[in-house]
Symmetry: C3
Subunit: 383 residues, 3 copies
């Protein structure tokens, strides 16, 4: 045979000869039990905790959500400091439509019929500017008489209320809101809605969400939302606030899991009692603009207090995936490979016959001459 | 030598002596091939599936997005039940600006010139209250004559339409919308826009999105959006609805990957034909407020039907990362460490010479006396 | 003893006999050092990089956020082409309230007192239609005289400005905005706010965000926001734009970590100088509607330029978690299991006494007869 053929054969040998480790069987119940018990512990962790509890074999995806809300309710107000008035949804939901949230007006301070005009004179404590006369506040470098500013014509139809309590639209607590929410998990191509398709329309016309009796009804009474969040509606209505309607769509999409349903919870999102006495509640100013036939513009300035309800949709869907399964199995196998080290250490350190085991398991190569020997009384760990 | 020096030397020995396992080479082609083949399978899985298909070596980040929309188009309506009217973007996009969505008015029911006034008498079937006269509905405990409510003065300029079909602004299907979308992957400090910088302005002035011919054009005709979502614009315009413009920014940011571009898709988000007959479509009420020179306020109540287009931007960017690479490599190595167990089991169970192999591979320590023996006919797995 | 008892005992043996690998100790400092050094490298990577730098032992969760904004400031404009006017927040924040963003009007083009009316004649260059007379633009198939359109009555109180420069509300740069942001990490049940509770209200009344001196103050001057984003407010005010107020809530929630605080940064989100000369800036059209006592409707059309400030809240919280810890430890253990292979390869290839080591470590089973032999000069890798 030529040299190259021999080399080739040697290569083939080193590729396809199977090299396996020599082992020693020790028929000792103690070590055997410890070994199997430790294996069992690791397996229990893997099967029990990682798979069943943590579902680490799942791929995950985050929710994409769309929300539509529709508030319903009428109010009639007749207080001493305001003209009697009738309110419907076009009056108290501002803006009329927004995505993922809706604002319900509960209280207000109105400054009617403001006009761009000139201050009759430089304001001083003796002049009759009250509250919203911005002669001073608005312009930091007043240049004396006749400067242009907003002045408030004595109101014709409304009076600015002297106190915010009680809230004008205290009755808003009886308004209801219908929440339609449809979600998508794009990675798994799953679409779901918060209104189950088997619910009858007759039920939807009269139902109201109740955690115990009507957990599937998508119609919420505002008072219930606020009280589930641990707040008092009448208190919150005075100065406003932000209330989260939190919809949790956490889903297990594996076929053996239960079908997933939204879980509603409610929480006040703004700081009710800040220690630093910062302005609390929620309010903003907006104006209704009018134009007289001669082109002169006037406005009604409204400082609106109210509750902004934010619909916060979150959730993670999990579904069996190859990669996370492999990664977690791999980690578990790596831990299983530690078990013999534990058993070896126990065997060579704590057992009565450890010297015997050591002698048979470990060979000691004497560096000087070409012989093996067994170590005497020194225990070597296996790596 | 002192005792402590001997102890120290023994410690050094146990630290720096190298302990390696004794092995047995078996020159059997069957076992060798099985061993290499199984190794190959695991490697193929790692390289092929985990790396190439799943890109498990990548770190991921979620997209942060900003959207601006600009609708363009004019409409002229001249139907029998409404005065002729000319519409532009300030009339039909409500609110004029919102983030991540825009609402196009397509149909409406108008109740003009409502005033806060007293009902002339307690309403009963013989009085002429129609539809929006809220004398009854608005106040649940009527106290008889003269109660304050909203009454509708006979309209001067508009008539409430008797039927919703066809949609008033059916022509809205020809409106176009320009969508500007810029995104960020904060972890990778990557910023991108949906309008490629190499596109010429002359092209942007005349182009229109078309999946085949103009996939990069950011200007969409509303009709096309709706029909790509599998809906009929004229049907949807009557009662309104929600349409998702879904922009998928899934990106592979590794330098060898193709540059990432947004992928547009369209889907109706609300339930078109709910089995439970729930109110379909999308509408909301809003009012335009007017004030007469004497301070009396009136309003035009508009029940607006229309299509809300929601721009939903999602995506995950992946880029080579050390930690996921290490984790996946580690899992693969752990699986590779299982391969010898498979080969051992095959060798000691299925091969003709299994007793021979067993005799040489496994030593059996007899517990009673201090000798080794080879097991007879019983196969022991390796762990 | 019966056969079944023997079988049972054999089973028990194979279950509880402990099988351990036979090892050979090689007292060579070179191999020992290499072995320990490689182990040390892997451990350093695991402890140093994976744990300390990448915090791969943590579970993560994405932030859920709520934002309230409140703009403050007054402006007084007195330019040659507009009537003097006084502006407050109800005039320049449009819409008055929105979630996660606010729009500040900085410039405008006003077309006052538009009425639905008939064009006196077909428009041609000699007729006096300018800019917003939509006789041509609005209707593509003009049918001659008398067609209905929007005409602009000569303005009474405002004039359309001939040039956009300078911005009408250039003074808006001195407006301030209070940003209240509360966040939740639902998986860890952690709630936080951007206004630290220990801050006194007296401080909040006068403070202004400054990266160096007042990093905790939640009140931002618009000019500072824009200049931190590397832009010039006066430039941006003319044509508008989108400015991101980015709040990074990346948190380490382990108890030994520092308490987490929001990090503010600012970035212009729209394309300032697009190469394709696309319309830059941000503007939209909206209308204020008026009604004359005779029911005739007019509107003031406003093309509003301004800066939309988008509050973008992002962040990932990490906290010690069992599963990621196990997975990363497992991967590290798997890598540690590679270390003996490296040392074996070095020992059997590079050492002077490699033949001696080989002879003692590896036994070669001759296939033909039932004897072992040591290989001569051929090095076999261990797997």
């Amino acid at each position: 045979m030529s040299r190259s053929a021999g080399c080739c054969q040697s290569c083939l040998h080193s590729l396809f000869d199977y090299e396996t480790s020599k082992t020693l069987v020790i028929p000792n119940l103690g070590v055997g039990c410890l070994f199997r018990f430790t294996q069992l512990l690791v397996l229990l962790y893997v099967v029990g905790y990682v798979c069943v509890v943590q579902k680490a074999y799942q791929e995950t995806d985050s929710v994409i959500s769309t929300v539509t809300t529709k508030v319903k309710g009428f109010a009639y107000t007749n207080t001493s400091d305001m003209e009697p008035r009738f309110w419907d949804v076009a009056d108290y939901v501002i803006p009329p439509q927004s995505v993922n949230s809706f604002f319900v007006l509960t209280n207000m301070a109105i400054t009617p019929h403001q006009k761009q005009s000139r201050c009759p004179e430089f304001p001083n404590p003796s002049t009759t500017c009250v509250d919203d006369c911005d002669c001073i506040e608005g312009y930091n470098n007043p240049r004396g008489h006749g400067r242009l500013t907003l002045i408030t014509i004595p109101p014709l139809s409304f009076l600015t209320r002297l106190s915010l309590r009680p809230a004008v639209l205290a009755v808003a607590e009886n308004f209801t809101v219908l929440i339609k929410n449809s979600i998508t998990y794009p990675k798994f191509n799953v679409h779901k809605r918060n209104i189950p398709s088997q619910i009858r329309s007759s039920y939807l016309k009269r139902c109201e969400f109740n955690r115990k009796t009507d957990p599937d009804c998508p119609i919420f009474r505002l008072k219930d939302i606020v009280s589930e969040a641990g707040e008092e509606f009448q208190d919150m209505a005075v100065k406003g606030g932000i209330l989260g309607i939190i919809i949790d769509w956490s889903c297990d999409l594996d076929w053996w899991a239960r079908p997933c349903k939204p879980k509603y919870s409610f929480r006040r999102l703004d700081n009710k009692n800040p220690s630093n006495n910062l302005v609390t509640g929620l309010n903003f100013r907006f104006a209704k603009y009018y134009q007289a036939p001669d082109g002169e513009e006037a406005r009604t300035l409204i400082k609106a207090y109210g509750i902004r309800f934010e619909i916060i949709v979150f959730g993670t869907a999990g579904k069996f995936g190859i990669v996370p399964t492999i990664v977690n199995l791999g980690a578990s196998i790596a831990f299983l490979s530690l078990v013999p080290m534990v058993a070896d250490w126990f065997m060579l350190t704590c057992m009565k016959k450890r010297d015997l085991y050591m002698r048979h398991k470990v060979a000691y190569l004497l560096d000087d001459d070409d012989t093996e020997s067994v170590p005497m009384g020194t225990s070597y760990g296996t790596q």
